[in-house]
Symmetry: C2
Subunit: 555 residues, 2 copies
C-alpha cells in the first residue's frame, strides 16, 4: 500500500473498552489533533490510586506534531487528564466558554494557569490546522455548552459526536442542532465516531424537563426544608432547582466545594439564571423558617467525604437534617457506587427524613443517548465508516448492531481498542496496526506515577498482610548471632497467635542453619529460601500468603 | 415492671440493618430457640476477610439455655454460620430434607458430620421445647422446601415468615400455604417477624414460571450450544432448564463444584426430576453436535474463580465458548457485583457469543416478596405487634409503612437493630434493652478471627503501602552504628524515588541524633518520634501516609 501524503490516521488513547478517560486523535500529514483528555476513577482493586489517565507516551514521542487539544465538554472523563497532558505537551486548548471555565478551575489547582493558552470557541467557530479545517455543532448533554466536531480533511469529512442525546424539550435552550447535522450528513461523511454509553438501552432518553416537573412537585409538597443532591456540573438541573425555589418561595444554599465552584462559573458566564438575593450562605440556613429553605449539595454518589454523606451522619458543621425534611437524590448511582449510596439513604432514614431516591421517582435522566438517539445520529450523519467510541466492549458491540440496522455496512464498522489505528488512504479505511496505549496511575501529588509492582505489593499487603523477619548475622562467619525476630502487620494479631509465630521462628533458625551447613551464605539465597519455606508453612497453617520480608543485619 | 415466669424475649444477632447473616432468637422461661445462622460476604473495605458471621458471645454465655437451631431454608445467609455455631454450641439442628442436605455438605467440609444431630422436619411437624410448641408452614422462595415458623408460647403466638414470596404458579409445587397462614392468623397472632428484602419494590413479585418460558424460548432459538448460569441452589430454575433440554433434545453438563454438589443433593432427595441419561460429563461436551448440548454453570455473579468467568476468558480446561453459542445469565447482579458481571459479559462478547443478560430479558425473578406480597403476609397473619427483619434500614423502614397501611398500629412496630430486645410481658411488648451483638470475621482456616487492629493495618497497607526503617544501634552507648536502612513496599517504586528516600534517610539520622542529644534513648520514644517526623515529611511530599515500621537492632 503506497501511502499518499494526505493519509489519515484515527485512534484512541482512552475511552474504548471502558467508560472514562476519553482521548482520541486524528493524524494527517504530520499534524495531530487531540480530542478530549479525561480521567477515570479507579475501582477498589487499584488500591490507593487516586485517578487513572491515558498513557500519553505516543503523543510525547510525537510532541512536535501535536497542534492542539479540542475539548467537546467539561465532564471529568473528558477534561480530568488535561493538567497532566499540558505538563508534558503544552499546546493550545480549545473549548466553549463553560468548558473553559471548568478547565480553568483545574489549571488553577495545578498552578498551570499562566503558561496555558486557552482558546474560546463556539458552534460557529472555524479553525484551520494545516490541511484540516475544523468546525463544530451543538449537542445536548447533562452539562451546558457541548459540541460535536467536524474535521474536513483531504480524505473526506470525519465527525466526532461528543457526548449527546436528543432532548427535544431542552432546558436553557441547550439543544442538539439537528438541522446542522443533517446538512453535514447531506454533504457526505467518510467516518463517524459516536459515543456508546447507552447503546444497550432501548428507546429514547427521557427529557431533562421531566426531572424538573418531579423536582417542582416535591418542592411544593415539602413542609420543611428540602435538600437535593446532584452532579454539580449538571447546570440545567441546577436551573430547575432554582426554578422550583422561585415557585415555592425558598432561599437556596449551596454545600460542597465543587457545587460552589461550578455554580460560580455557570453564573459568571451566563449559563444559570438565579434571581438576586436567592442564594444564601450556609450559616443563614438556621435563621430562616425551614419551609423557606432549600439546599443543593454534592455527594449524590455517596462519596464518604462529600456534603450529603456528612449531613447524613450529622457531621456537617452548622447544618442538620431534621425529621420531616425532604432529601432528594437526583442522580443514579454510577456502577460501583451502589453500596455507598445505600448507606447514605439508610443514614438519612435514621434521621427520619423523607428520602426520595431510586429509578422510579423520575428525579434523574441520563445525559447519554439511548438506542433511538444513537440511530438518529447515525441516520443524520450517514457515514461510510463508523467507529463506536466511549464505552465498554458490550456497548461498542451493540452500537455496531445499531449502525448496521440503519445501513452502515457491517465490514465498515471498526470495534476496536485503545491504541488500535484506523488508517484512511485514498478513501479506503483499514485497521491493521496499533500504537502504544495504556493506563497511567496517578497517586497523590508529587511522586508521579505508580507502577504495577507497587500495585501488586499493595494488593498482597491488603489481602494477607506481612511478616518481617529480622536476622542478625555475624560478619565474621555468617552465622546467626541471636534468635530471629519476626514482626507481623495485617496478618495475624500477634497476641492471638503466639504459638504459630514461635514455630515460625524455629523454622527460620532451622532454615538458616541448614543453608549455613550447605555453605550457602549469599544474602539472596538466604532470603529466597526463607520466603519459600516460611511462605509454605504459613499457607499450610493459615491458608494465607502474607508478604514475607526478610531483613539481614550484619554486625 | 414485674416479670412473670412466662415472659418472652425476641432479638436478632444478625439480619437487621443488613442483608445477610440472619440469626434470630426467642427466649422464654430459660429456654432459647435460635432461628437460622447465616453468613454474609464482606465488601472490599474488609480486606482479605473471607466471610462474616454473627458474634455469638451472648449465646455462648447462655449456652445451657440454648435448646435447638431451627433453619427456615438452605441459603448461605441462613446456614453459612452453622459450622461456627456448632463448634461453640452443639445443639440439634432442625430443617427440611433439602435444607439438611445442604447443611450436611457444609458439616462435611468442617468435619462436623459425626457429632452433629440433624433432625428432619416438614410443614406438618410439631415440636415442643418446654413451654413453647413449634409448628411450621410452607413458603415459596428461590430454593426448595422453605418454611415459616409458628411459636405457640404462654404469652401468645409468634410467627417468623422465613424468606418468601407468593408465587401462585409455582414450579414443582413449591407453593406458599395461604390457607394455613389464614388459619394461623384467624386464631390470633401476637407478633410477626417478616422479611423485608424487597420492601422498596412496588407490585407483586413475578412468578418463576415466567423465567421458564423465556429459558425455553432461548433454547428453541439457539442454533449451537447453550450455557446458562444461575444460583446453584435455585433448583426450581434448574428444573426449568432441564425441561428446556427435554423440549429441545439436548444433553446437559454441569460445571462448577457447587452446581454439581447441590444438583446431586436435589436429585438424591427428590427435588429435581432429570430424565435418565440426560446428564453428561464435561468431557462428553465436545463429542456431541453443539445443538445437542446445554451447560449449566456457576458464576452468575461474575466471581473470578467460578466456571462462567473462567469460560469467558478461555481458561476452563476442555470446554470452550465458541462464536454463536448462546450464554444466558439467569440471575441479577447482587449489589457490589456489577463490575465483575459486566467484565464477564464483555469477555463473552469478545468470544462472539450471543449473550442474554439484563433485567429486560425475563431471565431472572426475585425470590423475595415485593410490597404486595409483604402486605398479603401481614394481612393473613394480622399480628398485634410487628418486627420487620432481614433488610437494611431503609427496607425495614418501608416495611413498617406497609404494616401501617394494612392496619398494624404504628407504635406496635419495632424497627430495631441487631442486639435490640423486645420483651413481652403479660401481652405487652416493649423495646428497652439490648444484648451484645456484632460481626465476627472469618479469615482463612485455622487462625481464628481477625480483629479490628489487623483490618486497620491491612487498610493502611493497601492504601499507601509501608516504609520499614532499620536502625542498628550500639548496645554500649545507644548511638547509631551505621546509616539507617529503609525498605518500601507498595509505597513508591524505589528506583523512581531515590531522592525522596535519600532525604528520608537524612531525616531519620537527624531525628535519632537529636533524641540521643536529649538523652532520650528509650526505644519507644525513638520509634514514636520517627513515626511522627518521617510520617509528616512523607505526607507533605507525597500526600500519602504509608505505615511506618521502625526496627531497632542492638549490637
Amino acid at each position: 500500500m503506497s501511502k499518499n501524503e494526505n493519509a489519515l490516521s484515527i485512534y484512541a488513547l482512552g475511552g474504548l473498552n471502558e467508560v472514562g478517560k476519553n482521548m482520541y486523535a486524528i493524524e494527517c500529514n504530520n499534524e495531530i489533533l487531540v480530542i478530549d483528555c479525561g480521567n477515570k476513577f479507579p475501582d477498589e482493586s487499584l488500591l490507593g490510586i487516586d485517578l487513572i489517565i491515558p498513557d500519553m507516551t505516543y503523543l510525547e514521542d510525537n510532541r512536535e506534531k501535536v497542534k492542539g487539544l479540542l475539548v467537546t465538554h467539561g465532564h471529568e472523563d473528558h477534561i480530568g487528564g488535561i493538567p497532566y497532558f499540558l505538563k508534558k505537551i503544552n499546546v493550545p486548548v480549545y473549548g466553549t466558554r463553560f468548558t473553559l471555565g471548568l478547565i480553568e478551575l483545574k489549571l488553577g489547582e495545578h498552578k498551570l494557569s499562566r503558561e496555558t493558552e486557552l482558546k474560546e470557541i463556539n458552534s460557529e467557530t472555524n479553525l484551520s490546522f494545516g490541511k484540516i479545517n475544523v468546525s463544530f455543532f451543538k449537542v445536548n448533554h447533562s452539562i451546558p455548552d457541548c459540541l460535536g466536531i467536524v474535521f474536513d480533511t483531504p480524505e473526506g469529512v470525519i465527525v466526532h459526536s461528543g457526548d449527546f442525546k436528543f432532548d427535544l424539550t431542552p432546558v436553557n435552550n441547550q439543544y442538539s442542532d439537528i438541522h446542522k447535522m443533517a446538512e453535514i450528513g447531506k454533504k457526505g461523511v467518510l467516518l463517524l465516531l459516536s459515543e456508546s454509553t447507552n447503546a444497550e438501552r432501548s428507546g429514547s432518553t427521557p427529557s431533562e424537563k421531566n426531572v424538573g416537573a418531579h423536582i417542582e412537585e416535591a418542592f411544593v409538597k415539602a413542609t420543611r426544608k428540602v435538600l437535593l443532591s446532584t452532579f454539580a456540573s449538571n447546570i440545567n438541573r441546577v436551573q430547575q432547582v432554582v426554578d422550583a425555589c422561585i415557585k415555592t418561595n425558598r432561599k437556596l444554599a449551596l454545600l460542597g466545594r465543587s457545587m460552589v465552584n461550578v455554580v460560580d462559573v455557570a453564573m459568571e458566564r451566563g449559563y444559570l439564571d438565579v434571581p438576586e438575593g436567592m442564594l444564601i450562605d450556609q450559616n443563614e440556613i438556621n435563621e430562616l423558617p425551614p419551609e423557606k429553605v432549600a439546599i443543593l449539595c454534592t455527594g449524590s454518589q455517596g462519596e464518604p467525604m462529600a456534603a450529603l454523606a456528612r449531613l447524613s451522619t450529622g457531621n456537617f458543621r452548622g447544618v442538620e437534617v431534621l425529621p420531616e425534611d425532604t432529601v432528594i437524590l437526583a442522580a443514579g448511582p454510577i456502577p460501583g457506587n451502589e453500596k455507598n449510596v445505600s448507606q447514605v439513604i439508610d443514614n438519612l432514614y435514621t434521621l427520619r427524613a423523607n428520602v426520595i431516591y431510586g429509578s422510579g421517582k423520575g428525579m434523574h435522566v441520563s445525559g447519554h443517548g439511548y438506542q433511538e438517539d444513537l440511530k438518529l445520529m447515525l441516520t443524520l450523519i450517514q457515514p461510510k465508516y463508523f467507529i463506536p467510541i466511549h464505552g465498554e466492549y458490550r456497548m461498542l458491540y451493540h452500537h455496531r448492531l445499531l449502525a448496521e440496522s440503519v445501513g452502515v455496512e457491517q465490514e465498515n464498522t471498526f470495534v476496536m481498542g485503545n491504541g488500535d489505528v484506523v488508517d484512511i488512504n485514498d478513501g479506503i479505511a483499514r485497521q491493521t496496526r496499533e500504537i502504544h496505549a495504556g493506563n497511567t496511575y496517578v497517586d497523590g501529588i508529587g511522586v508521579g506515577d505508580v507502577g504495577e509492582v507497587v500495585l501488586r505489593d499493595r494488593k498482597q499487603l491488603a489481602e494477607d498482610g506481612m511478616l518481617v523477619i529480622i536476622l542478625t548475622m555475624s560478619k565474621r562467619n555468617g552465622k546467626l548471632i541471636s534468635n530471629p525476630d519476626t514482626i507481623t502487620r495485617g496478618f495475624v494479631y500477634a497476641r492471638d497467635s503466639e504459638e504459630l509465630l514461635r514455630d515460625v521462628n524455629k523454622l527460620i533458625t532451622k532454615t538458616v542453619n541448614e543453608l549455613e551447613h550447605e555453605r550457602k551464605r549469599q544474602w539472596g539465597d538466604i532470603k529466597h529460601q526463607l520466603k519459600k519455606t516460611v511462605g509454605q508453612y504459613l499457607f499450610q497453617h493459615t491458608k494465607r500468603k502474607p508478604m514475607i520480608l526478610p531483613i539481614i543485619i550484619e554486625v
